[in-house]
């Protein structure tokens, strides 16, 4: 059903694949609502979660998806591994592959690392975030959540707000949403908008109120303090006043704008607590859809049998 062996990013990834994944994910979403949430689809498959960078939610989400599909999983994190002994990336992954595995889910701090990995191993590679490049499974779960809410993607107006420069979530969302026919506007400080991003088929605005007026939904990105060089924006106070999704700002708009956030949130900086916890926010739906869409991705890429669902 899906020809592409790996899921490395959504740039150039066929729109039909994204649609197939989301359709399958809605099936798994139903499984997740059952009292017994486990299916035998990937019984006998071995998946390694190779995390070169800290992650809580993405890793738990992948692990749960794997367990729900009855796959065998192994977790590897850089802090407890041979990385510290100075072993090269190539040696590490070739050793892991030599143990006969079917797929590697990898998070890595450097852009392009998953593509690099495909040169050294035969296993299916799924990108769980590579530096400031892509985070395709996050974008797929975001798109699934929009589909769930609006029933369609084509023609939707989506704002992506905040630190675009350091965001793999933004880049994957841009590729995925535009290929499915949504309109995308990016909004954030000029210093956090990367060069020539308009060439990817999106609009750029520096006026958050205009974007909130225009959009059907906004995806509010985390201000990534840990990636921040010095002085890309003057202060979190100023950020909040110019770009923060505050309660007051939301009140000024009469329509019911859908609020998304990939987490983890800096409450009081890019988003106010009462906005994040409001009925307009679909942030927790995103989390559940994350497990369902990762189940769909693993299932489709690892050749699970349809009848097993």
């Amino acid at each position: 059903m899906i020809k592409e062996k790996h899921l490395l990013g959504l740039e150039g990834y066929p729109a039909e694949n994204i649609e197939t994944i989301i359709e399958t994910a809605f099936g798994f979403r139903e499984v997740l609502e059952r009292p017994i949430k486990k299916v035998p689809s990937l019984q006998g498959k071995t998946i390694v979660n190779l995390f070169y960078e800290d992650s809580t939610r993405t890793r738990i989400s992948f692990e749960l998806a794997q367990k729900r599909l009855s796959a065998d999983t192994v977790n590897f994190s850089a802090s407890s591994s041979s990385v510290k002994k100075g072993e090269s990336f190539k040696d590490t992954v070739q050793n892991i592959e030599a143990m006969k595995i079917d797929a590697i889910v990898m998070r890595h701090p450097y852009p392009g690392a998953p593509l690099h990995l495909t040169k050294f191993v035969d296993a299916v590679v799924i990108n769980a975030g590579d530096g400031t490049h892509e985070h395709p499974t996050q974008a797929i779960l975001d798109i699934m959540s929009l589909k769930e809410h609006f029933g369609k993607i084509k023609g939707l107006k989506i704002g992506i707000i905040g630190d675009i420069l350091h965001s793999r979530v933004a880049l994957s969302n841009i590729h995925g949403l535009t290929s499915l026919g949504a309109e995308v506007t990016l909004c954030g400080p000029a210093t956090l908008i990367p060069k020539d991003i308009e060439k990817l088929g999106v609009n750029v605005s520096y006026n958050i109120d205009e974007v909130m007026d225009w959009a059907d939904a906004i995806n509010v990105l985390r201000i990534q303090m840990e990636r921040m060089g010095v002085g890309l924006f003057p202060s979190t106070r100023e950020y909040r006043s110019l770009f923060g999704i505050t309660h007051e700002r939301l009140e000024r708009h009469d329509k019911k704008l859908v609020i998304m956030h990939p987490g983890p949130m800096n409450r009081g900086v890019e988003i106010d607590s009462n906005v994040a916890d409001s009925s307009q926010a679909i942030i927790l739906d995103q989390v559940l859809n994350g497990v369902a869409s990762r189940m769909a991705i693993l299932y489709l890429l690892l050749g699970g049998k349809q009848e097993a669902v």
Partner: protein
Amino acid sequence: MKINKLNKNVLLKNGTVYDPVKQKIINGNVLITNGKINGVGDIKAPGGAEIIDCSGLIVTHGFCDIHAHFREPGREDKETLQTGAKAALAGGFTRVCVMPNTNPPLDDPESIRFIVEKSDETPIYIHPIGAITKGQQGKEIAEMGAMKTEGAVAFSDDGIPLQNAYVMRLALEYAGMINVPIINHAEDVLLRNEGVMNESVISTKLGLSGNPDIAESAMVQRDLQIAQSTNSTLHIPHVSTKKSVEAIKKYKSVFQKVTAEVTPHHLYFNDEALITYNTNLKVAPPIRTEDDRKALITALSDGTVDCIATDHAPHTIEEKEAPFDLAPFGMIGLESCFGAVNKILVKENGMKIESLIDLLTIKPRKIMEFEQDLFADGTPVEITIIDPKVSWTFTKDDINSRSINSPYIGEELFGKIIYTIVKGSVVKI
């Protein structure tokens, strides 16, 4: 690679002889006696002479590369003067200037002497470029006078830009006094920031930090101003942007002591080639846009940029197999140079092959004030023999360097080196 001693008399027969000094094509022969030129033109072979048939080939001056890294001393696992010399021979280069970013750096007369003496044992001519500042630290100027006496031909802190404009001024004043060019890797390190490739939609797509073109051109402008005000000779290495070309062009019309080079890879590739994170294309300055590439081609044609230099920079496989952000900057370039630039400039952009040969022979020699009239009788032989029209695929087997970090592997190149003759020996490539 087999390096054969020349016979007492060798006749290069029936080639198209191009003399870049006279700017003339001579259909005839070149006689080499005891390793020295003994006549060019309608010359007969003396009895017992070895004949090298050059029909269909161009016989011209040996190429000269004024920007290479042979990694000795310190990183002999990447390259040595000996292995670098073989790579040069394979690329038709008989004379190479090596950069001082070794370990320790070439920043005093003793280390310059070390290179000069060790180079004597290699099959080509190698000239060291000394560091501008002690330890390449950018703080205090090094012993340029004494280094010149030992054989340094220019001064450069190589990959480390001289960020401090005051030190740059002192360096230009001092080097101007002893008549040696300063070569500054022009990149404002603050504007470059963490950039690992050209800043454009491609870097945005790849999630890699961008290095904007103004990081180069801003420092090129600064250096041109300081050179003009101190009336000292400035050579600008590996020009990569249209904006730098424009700045150089403007200054050259009023200030003559400035020269510039461009690398084969900045002529051959544009930043779209990085879309697969090929670390062999990670170089400093970065591969730029198609617009920049075209401006560089024009700049070579109209004389704004003076010559081609390879910036041959060997690195190990392990280092280049790292993720893009972590891989070192640089690619090897000696062996692939001619086939690459001949394809781009002559085949695709209509430059005359004679003009291209000038860019690889007299023009770089003039910058470094090397002997240029290589076909004069009695000159120790430095000759390169080229097949200008053959298409061939560059492979690992064509590499003589100790390192193989080349993005040309698998590329179809145009024009090939057939013989390199220097220091009394001949190599068939």
